[in-house]
């Protein structure tokens, strides 16, 4: 233990870091939880390239015609075929174990002769699901070709896109953004308000400590964990799913730093007045809720109606996610993501300045 005296800002920052690392639960939620989430989501939504389309074939109708249809469907390597009765098929479709049901059309006139005559078919699928619509086209294509349809236009598939096109590629930057928001807000909110509840803020205010040092130490201690947080998620993405950072690592770290500072300022603002942990938890949730829903962490916010998009884009988490995706997925440079970065900086500055003005020390 050294006797060298360090400036108060350094001592305050060190104290906050020690408090954090000595709280095993906090370490879990900040570092382990997002990695587990990335793994779980990455597996659940793993890339479906080359995956089979699951089809339920109804066991009703004339046996000979049904057997012929089954034989034709089985020739295609693109289908995973299961034969079941109508009730089971309906359940399987509802639970998305199959994407489409195919059966002989009972209302069509019976085929004149068994064997190779083409049957009339009925498809059952959920037209609201893209997978359902695609599965219907795939099955129909197999059937039509089997009974002799030929393509009028020659077509072949180009090479698949390589850069950041899978769901996990989309997800990892979003998880980094969401984690920076969560740890910024909760980490600051809880510790500041519990220091207020415990009258520690009042005790500090009774010393010659510069009040700005205290507030700055909160922001600074966040920065030291930031690298680890980003590395944990990005590292898990790289190792487990091969998610690559297309842009520069330095740009990722700089944007993450601005994001952490921005949410630090917002966290400080939320924690500036509340006198109880319950109150600050409520405010934290209120602040984060719109961003959880709208900021496009798990799916693209472009799906929201056009009139909502300008509002969504100025949310700090949207800005952070956009900037991170730009760099990580699209290989953009910092200059190319200047507008979300500006949004982040403005949020952080406004939060910090207002927080300092209205901060309650006791």
């Amino acid at each position: 233990m050294s006797n060298r005296r360090l400036p108060p800002l350094v001592e305050l920052t060190l104290a906050r870091i020690l408090e954090f690392v000595r709280e095993p639960e906090a370490v879990f939620w900040v570092f382990v939880f997002p990695v587990l989430m990335a793994v779980a989501l990455g597996i659940a939504f793993r890339s479906q390239t080359g995956a089979l389309t699951s089809v339920a074939l109804l066991d009703s109708g004339p046996p000979a015609a049904r057997a012929e249809l089954e034989k034709k469907l089985r020739t295609s390597p693109r289908l995973q075929l299961r034969v079941m009765n109508e009730a089971d098929a309906a359940v399987a479709l509802r639970k998305t174990r199959v994407e489409v049901i195919v059966g002989l059309d009972p209302s069509a006139p019976p085929a004149p002769a068994a064997g190779s005559a083409p049957p009339a078919l009925v498809y059952g699928f959920d037209p609201a699901r893209a997978e359902g619509r695609a599965a219907r086209l795939v099955v129909d294509d197999v059937v039509q070709r089997a009974w002799g349809r030929t393509d009028a236009v020659a077509a072949r598939d180009g090479p698949p896109p390589t850069r950041g096109s899978r769901y996990i590629d989309f997800l990892i930057p979003g998880l980094i953004g969401m984690n920076l928001m969560g740890s910024g807000l909760w980490g600051i909110g809880f510790s500041v308000v519990s220091a207020r509840v415990n009258k520690l803020l009042k005790r500090l205010a009774a010393t010659p400590m510069r009040r700005g040092d205290y507030l700055a130490s909160i922001a600074l201690s966040r920065l030291l964990f930031l690298g680890l947080e980003v590395a944990a998620i990005a590292g898990a993405g790289r190792l487990l799913f091969g998610v690559r950072i297309q842009g520069s690592l330095a740009a990722v770290m700089l944007v993450s730093l601005l994001g952490a500072l921005s949410f630090g300022g917002i966290g400080l603002l939320v924690a500036a007045r509340p006198r109880t942990i319950e109150a600050v938890s409520g405010w934290m949730n209120l602040v984060q809720l719109p961003m959880w829903l709208l900021s496009g962490t798990f799916f693209s916010y472009e799906r929201f109606p056009a009139f909502a998009l300008p509002f969504i884009r100025i949310l700090p988490l949207t800005a952070l996610n956009d900037a991170l995706r730009g760099i990580i997925n699209d290989g953009s440079s910092l200059a190319m993501v200047w507008s979300p970065v500006l949004v982040l900086v403005v949020w952080g500055l406004v939060g910090f300045v207002v927080a300092v003005r209205i901060f309650r020390w006791q």
Partner: protein
């Protein structure tokens, strides 16, 4: 060691005039004047809710008074010298919970860093008897150890004036004794102490002068012994009776200086309990009453408070 006589000739270390603090539901401090001299240990003695904490927090510059004037070490709060002033003050607040995750040494180091001048961290932990707990987490300390840590944090800036708000409340007698020893060491080095307490033993042992506070006002102020002497009585008889007796009748008994009805009990301030007791028993017997729950003790500051207010220091 400061000479108390000459200290009185110099300007007070802390003084306030006409201090008022009003909260929405209560007038916490109601026109309070104090003068605390350099090198003096000054006690604010009073029951819970008397306004002691509000008073010291105004003196410490943590609470802004609604009216009145405060001077500390020749300066006033809010005139651009607050940090310089705080460099010279040591503060222990009631019920501060220091961070439980930090060790004793880390906590003292942190507080040391706020002061330009001050003591060595190790020396302050020695003074507070925390050397063997230096590496322990604050959350693992006993109540007495936490209180000594609070004192260490207050002393680490080598303050000229030390404010202690209920320094030994909730501690067992042994832990209280250790806290008192630390305060006494600070006094011996010439420091000025302002402490609040509702323990008369604490006030009697540590304080050179005591102000008795009730309902936000000073109702008596003097050296502890002088306050006790002002009762004009050296001993106190307390009893209950199984029926009513006239207060004037008790007061007229020879040797009785004053009589106070304190809820169920009669409190008689007397010169000597021995000669008075038989005449009290006789007076009760003449009315067919019996004495119950009798006790006698040497007069203390508590009796001064009871005499002045008709209530005990720890009554709710």
């Amino acid at each position: 060691m400061t000479n108390v006589m000459s200290a009185h000739a110099t300007a007070p270390a802390v003084s306030c005039r006409g201090l008022v603090k009003r909260y929405p539901d209560v007038l916490a401090v109601d026109g309070l004047d104090l003068d605390v001299h350099p090198g003096e240990c000054f006690g604010l003695l009073g029951p819970n809710g008397a306004g002691k904490t509000t008073t010291v927090e105004m003196l410490e510059g943590l609470t802004t008074p609604d009216a009145g004037d405060i001077t500390l070490l020749g300066e006033r709060w809010g005139q651009g010298h607050d940090r310089r002033l705080r460099q010279q003050l040591g503060v222990q607040l009631q019920e501060t919970k220091l961070s439980e995750k930090l060790t004793v040494r880390e906590t003292v180091r942190l507080f040391r860093s706020f002061f330009d001048e001050g003591r060595e961290v190790e020396a302050v932990m020695d003074l507070a008897g925390l050397q063997e707990k230096a590496g322990a987490r604050v959350g693992k300390l006993s109540g007495g150890q936490k209180q000594r840590l609070a004192l260490a944090c207050a002393l680490v800036g080598a303050p000229k004036v030390l404010f202690l708000d209920e320094p030994s409340t909730g501690l067992d007698p042994q832990a209280r004794l250790r806290v008192w020893e630390i305060v006494e060491q600070f006094k011996q080095l010439g420091g000025t102490v302002i402490l609040t307490t509702h323990y008369m033993e604490e006030a009697a042992r540590l304080c050179d002068r005591v102000a008795i506070i009730d309902h936000g006002k000073v109702i008596a102020q003097d050296a502890p012994a002088a306050l006790v002497d002002s009762l004009g009585a050296r001993q106190v008889i307390t009893f209950t009776a199984d029926g009513d007796i006239d207060q004037a009748e008790l007061a007229a008994l020879p040797g009785v200086r004053s009589v106070i009805r304190q809820s169920e009990s009669w409190v008689l301030n007397v010169e000597q309990a021995g000669p008075v007791l038989p005449s009290v028993i006789n007076a009760l017997a003449a009315r067919g009453l019996q004495m119950e729950r009798l006790s006698t003790h040497q007069a203390t500051l508590e009796d001064v408070f009871v005499h002045l207010t008709g209530r005990g220091l720890r009554d709710e």
